[in-house]
């Protein structure tokens, strides 16, 4: 039953604002859906921009390489160091390599890589395309009879989808090296013993799940960055918003996808 309070101008205004927000949310969802469909429609139709894809793969790799090396190594060292006291209580330090490998391969390597790439690559794609939109470079491509979506969006999304799994593998390797140095220093374990113990607990499902996760993360980072940049509003403010939106949305989606994939993978174990 409506009370007098529920029909006051302030309440009516609040309701209409809420209605508008919900409408905007569904419109955005529809647009993102269209954007993804357009990617699949155009990405697999000739002509293919192989040269540009290679260039973008190189860009994605180079942009994140240093940060991923440092972060991956630190993650390996810190994780090993922090896990030791708990295992020591049961005299189970010898399980450290197995623990490190499971944690890194199943979760940390793809996740850390995706988060770093969201920050470095996602923001860069969002800002680059946003600035191209603002300075009418995308319009210029369109009026010259070329397909900017194919050249700018498809190439970048393919590049992130291909490169993030490679980077995640590299992160995993570097983190394991970090873990080894810590274990070697404290327990004196040799490299060959350590590596054997690292691979012992891992199953084929772990590798496949990790690969699928990285591919999904890579696609997400690319598509979100491109969507934000390609559809950025006019003005320099739009460029900043596109870069920021690319990072925040990609990171949020990466966590959501992580939960979903972990759940699905657990059904196969």
């Amino acid at each position: 039953m409506d009370t007098a309070e529920s029909t006051t101008p302030a309440v009516v205004k609040k309701r209409s604002k809420l209605r508008q927000s919900i409408t905007d949310f569904f419109i955005s969802l529809y647009r993102i859906n269209q954007f993804i469909l357009r990617f699949f429609r155009e990405a697999f139709m000739p002509p293919f921009e192989f040269k540009e894809i290679m260039k973008q793969c190189f860009e994605v790799g180079v942009r994140s390489f240093t940060l991923i090396t440092v972060t991956g190594f630190i993650v390996g060292v810190i994780f090993t160091k922090q896990s030791r006291p708990s295992l020591s209580q049961f005299g189970a330090q010898s399980w450290l390599p197995s623990l490190v490998s499971i944690a890194i391969m199943r979760a940390l390597a793809p996740l850390v890589t995706a988060l770093i790439a969201s920050g470095k690559v996602g923001s860069s794609i969002g800002a680059e395309l946003g600035s191209m939109r603002v300075t009418e470079q995308i319009d210029a491509m369109e009026v010259s009879g070329t397909k900017p979506f194919k050249f700018l969006v498809c190439t970048r999304v393919i590049a992130t989808t291909l490169t993030i799994p490679i980077l995640a593998t590299y992160t995993g390797f570097i983190a394991i090296v970090g873990g080894f140095l810590n274990v070697n220093q404290n327990e004196g374990t040799t490299w060959s013993t350590f590596i054997q113990e690292v691979f012992d607990p891992l199953t084929f499902t772990d590798f496949v799940a990790s690969l699928v996760k990285s591919i999904v993360f890579g696609f997400t980072i690319g598509i979100v960055g491109c969507y934000q940049g390609f559809n950025s509003s006019k003005g320099t403010e739009g460029v900043g918003k596109a870069a920021n939106g690319a990072v925040v949305t990609a990171m949020f989606l990466v966590f959501i996808e992580e939960i979903i994939i972990v759940q699905i993978t657990s059904w196969f174990r």
């Binding site: 002509p47 600035s131 191209m132 300075t135 009418e136 470079q137 319009d139 210029a140 491509m141 369109e142 009026v143 010259s144 009879g145 070329t146 397909k147």
Partner: protein, 257 residues
């Protein structure tokens, strides 16, 4: 350089616009535009900032869609054209942007090659090089071929922007504020270049500007866009031979100050 008198073929409009309307949210920018661009002529569209001049050529090039009205470009109705046909049509239309819109990440050579290699299937490296050198020579900037856009001056960027459209040999040229933000000498050079393009490439052009010197030097015909409609059309003298308080300040500001 004095503009040569060009005899336009008034029986053959390459662009024909009828009853064009366009609004952005509640603001009606174009309120029933009628326009013909004839083969071989330079038509200057004059108007205040925000009067919808750029919107008009963006609709003609298919970057924006009209709310109402007919826009026929080289025999194609822009409002009902298929995506593939629009792509093919765009190759026949050159668009020079206000801020040049050069691709920042590419050298001048790559900027010029970009539309060419994507629109001319099977073109050889030799043919690409010849085309690039020819258009750069036409705009007098052969020496900039390996430079990045950030290393060019405003006038040079405009010229390269025009060269990038000329490389596809367009039949129609659309210039959006070609002299905006340039010094007077460079403005004159750009105006001369527009006339040169008209003669050398036999293009029909729409030149959007609020610079009356540009209008006088380049226009065969002037159309004055006021309140979303063309209020006066004709030669430069005909358009400004008026006491209309919306038109006169334009002339006074440019030539009396």
């Amino acid at each position: 350089m004095e503009k040569k008198i060009v005899k336009a073929d008034h029986t053959n409009p390459v662009i024909s616009v009828r009853g064009l309307e366009k609004s952005f949210e509640d603001y009606a920018v174009l309120r029933g535009i009628d326009l013909d661009l004839y083969q071989g002529e330079n038509l200057v569209v004059l108007g205040r900032s925000g009067s919808g001049k750029s919107v008009l050529i963006k609709i003609i090039s298919g970057l924006l869609s009209p709310d109402k009205g007919e826009v026929n470009v080289l025999g194609h109705n822009i409002a009902h054209i298929r995506e593939e046909e629009l792509q093919e049509l765009r190759v026949r239309i050159g668009f020079s942007f206000q801020n040049s819109a050069l691709y920042d990440s590419m050298t001048v050579r790559k900027n010029l090659e970009f539309p060419l290699v994507r629109n001319r299937k099977g073109i050889t490296r030799q043919e690409i090089n010849t085309a690039v050198e020819t258009v750069l020579d036409a705009v007098g900037l052969s020496q900039t071929i390996n430079q990045m856009p950030s290393e060019l001056s405003g006038g040079q960027r405009k010229r390269i922007g025009i060269a990038r459209t000329l490389i596809l040999n367009p039949e129609i040229m659309l210039y959006d504020e070609p002299t905006a933000g340039l010094d007077p000498i460079t403005c004159i050079e750009i105006n001369d270049l527009i006339n040169e393009v008209q003669e050398r490439y036999n293009t029909s052009s729409i030149i959007i500007t609020h610079d009356l010197t540009c209008a006088k030097q380049t226009g065969d015909r002037i159309a004055m866009l006021l309140d979303g409609q063309f209020q006066r059309t004709g030669s430069f003298e005909e358009v400004f031979d008026t006491t209309d308080s919306r038109v006169k300040p334009f002339f006074d500001y440019n030539f009396i100050q």
